[in-house]
């Protein structure tokens, strides 16, 4: 567990409002998570619904502290754009990972785990585990 270098979190949604609100919710629910870098990358650069490769790259660079970056996405083009950027090799920081997790629940788990100093694998596992959280 590293005290200084925390895993960064990027939240990619088709909607700028959704990405920003989920980021705020996850940080709020994580309590003392002020030290964790969480960046939303929502919508297109023009403010519409969609996915922007530029916003994703900028968000990932802004949260990278050398401990890796976990990227969570909502649907369709958000998933495909992150995968395409990862395939490029140089568009995202080293140790950036697309995390297979439900967007909101996974974001909360990822931020809490990153705040506790968990490494990238721990953040990924916590976010993915959110799939098994049953509501009924």
């Amino acid at each position: 567990m590293s005290g200084e270098k925390l895993v960064g979190i990027v939240l990619v949604s088709h909607s700028a409002e959704v990405a920003a609100a989920v980021a705020a919710l996850a940080k709020g629910l994580a309590g003392g998570a002020a030290s964790v870098r969480v960046a939303p990358a929502g919508g297109t650069e023009g403010g519409g619904l969609g996915t922007s490769a530029g916003l994703i790259s900028a968000a990932a660079a802004s949260v990278d502290r050398g401990a890796g970056v976990a990227v969570l996405t909502d649907l369709g083009s958000a998933v495909l754009t992150v995968k395409a950027l990862l395939a490029e090799g140089d568009e995202l920081p080293k140790d950036t990972r697309l995390v297979d997790a439900p967007f909101l629940e996974g974001a909360v788990a990822a931020v809490v785990t990153a705040a506790a100093g968990g490494d990238l694998a721990a953040v990924e596992a916590a976010a993915a585990e959110a799939y098994s959280y049953r509501k009924v």
Binding site: A53, G76, S77, L80, A84
Partner: protein, 199 residues
């Protein structure tokens, strides 16, 4: 042999075709998707054309790599990373040769289509761009004109299919009876290639 100029002309023809057909692509997408395919593709290929005029890459591979990068950055929908991957994987396979043969292009496009299938997880018959692209690359051995016909038939053959990928898959049986917008734009891309080859 096909040089960088041939590939620039292909991209220019594709941009013109997408621009001409944007309303039709959006109308098809309105039936089973979110009604942005035409405007997304137009924005992407307009950016491709502007970038190719500014950068003038010197090899076939470099033209396709640059075009694919622009599509990933500017389209804003799933077609951006999908078409971007198609062109970039094809370009990467062509390497740094200043000229390539039609056979080499056919092989490289096959690799590009495989890349798209891996990225999107779609197979033949899922009512996607793959249903136009796979028959087109299979027919390329018989020439560009045969590939165009195969792509158009492939796109038309998506009408009775049930969508299994993307937003249209949420519609279930209601996706039946509509031509897939992605297969339609893929047929436009192959038609632009044939148009370029025929001169």
């Amino acid at each position: 042999m096909l040089d960088a100029d041939f590939f620039r002309r292909w991209m220019t023809a594709a941009a013109a075709s997408v621009d001409r057909e944007a309303e039709r692509l959006t109308a098809l997408d309105a039936a089973i998707g979110d009604a942005d395919h035409g405007s997304n593709m137009r924005r992407g290929f307009t950016a491709v054309q502007a970038e190719l005029e500014k950068e003038t890459p010197g090899t076939p591979g470099a033209v396709l790599m640059l075009a694919g990068r622009q599509l990933i950055s500017t389209v804003g929908g799933a077609s951006g990373p999908l078409y971007g991957t198609l062109l970039r994987r094809t370009g990467k396979t062509l390497g740094e040769a200043p000229e390539v043969s039609a056979e080499q292009l056919a092989e490289a496009l096959k690799a590009g289509v495989q890349g798209v299938m891996k990225l999107g997880g779609a197979a033949a018959g899922d009512k996607t761009m793959i249903d136009a692209l796979l028959p087109a690359v299979d027919a390329l051995g018989d020439g560009f004109t045969a590939a165009r016909a195969a792509a158009e038939q492939g796109a038309e053959a998506t009408v009775p299919m049930l969508a299994r990928k993307g937003r249209a898959s949420y519609l279930g049986e209601r996706s039946i009876g509509h031509q897939d917008p992605g297969a339609t734009s893929s047929a436009l891309l192959i038609a632009a290639l044939a148009e370029t080859a025929e001169g």
